[in-house]
Amino acid sequence: MINKILIANRGEIAVRIIKACREMGIATVAVYSEADRDSLHVQLADEAVLIGPPPATDSYLNMGRIVQAAQAAHSQAIHPGYGFLAENADFARLCEKEGIIFIGPNSNALELVGDKVRARQTMEKAGISIIPGMKSIPKSVAECEAAARTIGYPVIVKASAGGGGKGMRIVGEENDLKPAVEAGMREAKSAFGDESVYLEKYLEEPRHVEFQVLADNFGHMVHLFERECSIQRRHQKIVEETPSPALDDGLRAKMGEAAKKAMQAADYNNAGTVEFLLDRNSNFYFLEVNARLQVEHPVTELVTGVDLVRQQIRIASGEKLSMAQNDLRQRGHAIECRIYAEDPANNFLPSAGKILFVKEPKGPGVRHDGGIYSGWDVPIYYDPILAKLIVWAENRDLACRRMTSALDDYAIIGIHTTIGFLKDIINHPEFRAGRTNTGFIKRYFESWGEKGKDPGMLRPVLAAAAFDELNPAAHVQGAESRPSRKERFSPWQSLGKWRIGGI
């Protein structure tokens, strides 16, 4: 039985995993870089180990250091979260060799599906349709150019080790191929430590539909239905939902079976996701396997009632799956919005810096998975995801309304975030009608600006500003202007008129 887990990650996903561990009575070990001493996951874990300087290559990607930390803390297992080492077969193998349970698939399956080129070959053999593309990693740009001519433009450059849009470039013509391949290689190298890229035919405006799979170590496997993740920017998902408005029960069953077949072909265990592209004629193509817990796993949890992190830990402990395919139903509708530290009105520039204040939305059917708090400095070194807002409601329309209301209540002050942008996506008539595809953002939101503000709000804003001038001691201030005088926090100054014992 596992009684202590090291979480080889940071941010909201580390927090999510720590919470599952707590509920299961499992102790947690956080690891952190020098840039993350103040991060939330460090505060919430039972133990915390410094593993290196801020750049991920020196800390969260440092396999030796992380394994060493796990051994020193006597933790039997490592949960890698998503990103960083989550899909690194060498890391899984190192854990296996050192007798540490890697909470994820076995290293052979991970190696197979993590190598996007071999995965495509395997799926093709298993009878699952794939998108035309290169079948091996090219050794030169010239080889890419030749392949692109065969496949036909537009093509997409993809990182072999990748995910999350890192290293990806769409290329429309031969002149743009070389710089795209080079940029893709650089980004892949810095994100995954592996610069291999390959080319694939680029399908225009398909839907992105993926299936969640759970498999135990004894060959039992279920799928937990689909997630529609068509709303993407720079190939990064930003809004996800389930059920998909594009699937009927017949297509859902067909794709679910294909997903299980794909995972069987890879001899896969633990939680994983099979991604498909779905074209306008309901043809679906295998895209890749995400051999990890996904960012968007909460929407599946909300409609199926299954805690995926808990299941991952149970499977890794050697327990049998406690559910059969027929036990699983989709109930209601769930939507997730990813909150990024980016400025949507300014070309989505990353927005690191101090979060002066956070007010998280609350209410029935509202879930907030976050790694942020008031006063935290968002570091520049890592992925800009701050938090995820997830809602559940009885149907899609009600879920959209609930999401809009929750986004309205969500204040993150001090840095730019995507909250306003997400609100306009959820309220877009095409989104509300369920007509989404991977070209949605490009088509409708290419030059987004925040809509005009409500002139009715001017009076309360003026009132708030003037009240604040009249009562300067009433509020917490931004870091730079915080006075050093201790008396500011004295009750004699801040309480005003008060009475002892309410007399």
Partner: protein, 168 residues
């Protein structure tokens, strides 16, 4: 008492008087009463003519940020920090452009050399932050006058990267 504010860069002048438990505001010839309570360090409850608002207010250096009904409003005093600067580029003397870092990050590539002519939209440098590459582009035809950074440098927002000179 009188206050002058820039709210999202628009000038407002307001006078405030106490009337019992409420405050009487006069702005641009109109007046309204507001009953305001400080609920917690950053939250105000405001009732104006029977309508209830929950405002979150935060101070950041010389600004106040008021969050209300899903939107943030930037409140500044006239003359202080009234210029919003987003990085990118700035015209100084006639015919000169200063290209600055749009956000904190690391310069991973400089694509041009001093003295080189650049086209509009040509990539001048690539700055990486939060694992994404961001291309810094020229907004018009120009000549690279001076490069103020080097590959690998960690830069703060608004750090001068490249000076351009417009073609006469």
């Amino acid at each position: 008492m009188e206050f002058e504010f820039l709210i999202d860069h628009i000038f407002h002048k307001v006078s405030v008087d106490k009337t019992g438990n409420a405050l009487l505001f006069k702005e641009a010839g109109a007046s309204f009463e507001a009953d305001i309570r400080s609920i917690s360090e950053n939250v105000l409850s405001i009732i104006i003519e029977g309508r209830s608002y929950s405002a979150t207010i935060v101070r950041d250096k010389d600004k106040k940020i008021v969050f209300l009904n899903g939107r943030s409003y930037i409140v500044e005093k006239p003359g202080e920090g009234a210029k919003a600067f987003h990085g990118g580029e700035e015209r100084t003397r006639e015919g000169q452009l200063r290209i600055t870092a749009p956000m904190p990050g690391r310069v991973i590539k400089i694509n041009v050399a001093e003295g080189e002519k650049v086209r509009k939209n040509q990539t001048l440098a690539i700055v990486e932050a939060m694992k994404m590459e961001n291309e810094i582009k020229a907004s018009c035809e120009a000549v690279v006058k001076k490069i103020h950074t080097s590959t690998g440098e960690l830069v703060d927002a608004e750090k001068l990267l490249i000076e351009l000179e417009l073609e006469k």
